[in-house]
Symmetry: C2
Subunit: 366 residues, 2 copies
Amino acid sequence: MNEELLMIPGPVPVLPRIRNAMSKPMIYHRGEEFRAMYEEIVATLKWIFQTRNDLFVLSGSGTCAMEAAIGNLVRKDTPVVSIANGKFGERLVEIGNRYSDNVTPVNFEWGSPIELEEVKAAMEEKHPQVVTMVHNETSTGILNPAEAIARLTRKYNALFVLDCITSIGGYEVPVDDWGVDIAIVGSQKCLGAPPGLSAISVSERAWKMMLGDNDNSESRERPYYMDLIAYRDSFEKGQTPYTPALPLFFALREALEVIKEEGMAKRVERHRRLADTLRSAVTNLGLSLFPRLNDVSAYSNTVTAIKVPEWLDDAHLRGGMRERGVMVAGGQGKLKGKIFRIATMGNITEGEVSRTIQALESALRG
Amino acid sequence: MNEELLMIPGPVPVLPRIRNAMSKPMIYHRGEEFRAMYEEIVATLKWIFQTRNDLFVLSGSGTCAMEAAIGNLVRKDTPVVSIANGKFGERLVEIGNRYSDNVTPVNFEWGSPIELEEVKAAMEEKHPQVVTMVHNETSTGILNPAEAIARLTRKYNALFVLDCITSIGGYEVPVDDWGVDIAIVGSQKCLGAPPGLSAISVSERAWKMMLGDNDNSESRERPYYMDLIAYRDSFEKGQTPYTPALPLFFALREALEVIKEEGMAKRVERHRRLADTLRSAVTNLGLSLFPRLNDVSAYSNTVTAIKVPEWLDDAHLRGGMRERGVMVAGGQGKLKGKIFRIATMGNITEGEVSRTIQALESALRG
């Protein structure tokens, strides 16, 4: 029997060569072998992020990196504008509220695009020091207009935190060209590695805001485990401040090798093509995509959100697909039961997308 | 050639059967297979912790669990007494200072035992709500008097946070009998698993303090990634609040199988015997143990700290051992160059300890 095909928006299927990299014996995490591996991983991630900013790998999931971004930048009185049109945008608001009393959410309907004019009005009114947004909103299958929001943020002289957890590796995300001050990615999404690691890039402007007038590395307001200043200091020695999750580093290194072998341009094109194939098939089957978007390029290429037809039960449909060997995701939060989601992330192939479409078609027939 | 033998206090060598468990394909992290695995891991850890308290596995290192313990319990004005006689005790002070303005460190010389009378005096004066201590101080090779401090803490009606990162799995740590409100362990120490996970147990009294009068799960003061209330709510569904580091869970499950097969009594006895063998050999070679302890049982059975003789260079000695295939650890912080440390943690064997002693003897000869 075929192994179950995970078409959920992370954890994605991990190639055997990447999984097998984890059976390597442990190494000394403060030695030369670790240093060389960490530096290689960081160099490749900088290439993928298209950045010259500092970049670190955290031993924690994407949420850990979200908190690292906000918890290091934001103080109790920092004005933050937090743009949200889905579950993960709202998570940035929640994290912001743990650190600042001055977070202004700019909310859009889940599944609706972000309107620049409304964001602009909020910036005009609130003079934020930090603006947060999710690039690819996994809960609704929308790619948000990161470049435009970055430009706006820069115009209002704020720092831009962009959650690229499910975009980087599947899209071109030119962090420096756009002017993203903090960008983050998760290991188990478009990078095709197992879950448990995340990466974060930090601009000069972000360091300035964090450090303020003096390099007060004992500041009480930053979280400790994801203290970026500690990460920076340790990186100079080729180390992480706390023990790194070594097997996941071995796997990430191998996953990045796979990306280098494919090349980013081809990888992005593959993600585009597979999502396009999936969207066409879905609509040909008489189903509708969940987001209502005028701009077709705003439909995510890494996760496709589909309305559950009224005549169908969501759990039944997904159960039917699962019986046919394909696991897809349901809706989250208020979209539970109303949509289902199919990811095309990481090292997914044409064949796997075909298998998914067949399973969907067959499950729809009952 | 033999694989390098890691005799550092974590990451410890990981048995092939545990490492190979990580090459399994990814699974759906919100499904039945994950739930069954997580519940099995938690049940076994509760047996090892000797606790009926709630227990969770965090996708982060021991430091992540240290911050989870303190960050969830302590508010800005919470009086904390933080006992320290080494680097990791001091780390608890540092983390405490990020969350409370009212942390009283009770410091002892690195390498000296904790004096109950001094701790008692601090409690008498400060009326702490929370007391923190490291059980096994890895930086100096001392086992601290957890049971006595737990009793004292209870007498003064405070909560006791005990960092058991390098004791649980190598010592009997009867969490409930002693009355430890929050106990934590790291995966890559005495449990013999790879680094990247930690576990935390939480007593009823600790929940009461966290929740206060109402179950305010949106409190702004707790860290987000290690929010224990979110962990508790997710556990009811057999889930973690954020994506778990799946391969490390696979490995931890296998590592716990190894522990069940050996049995805890035998495992603790093996740790005792191996440390005893090592301490005897070290003193027979004319070296001295670093800590000055009247109570011989306070020398750690999981890590042995040895003075670097004046006629010898620390880096040279450790380099010599490494050339002979054995990696040991240097001193940390102010002990750098003054001591070296040999761990006997996890699934280490008599043969590996012999190999270590031979390497030390040979390196000492030049």
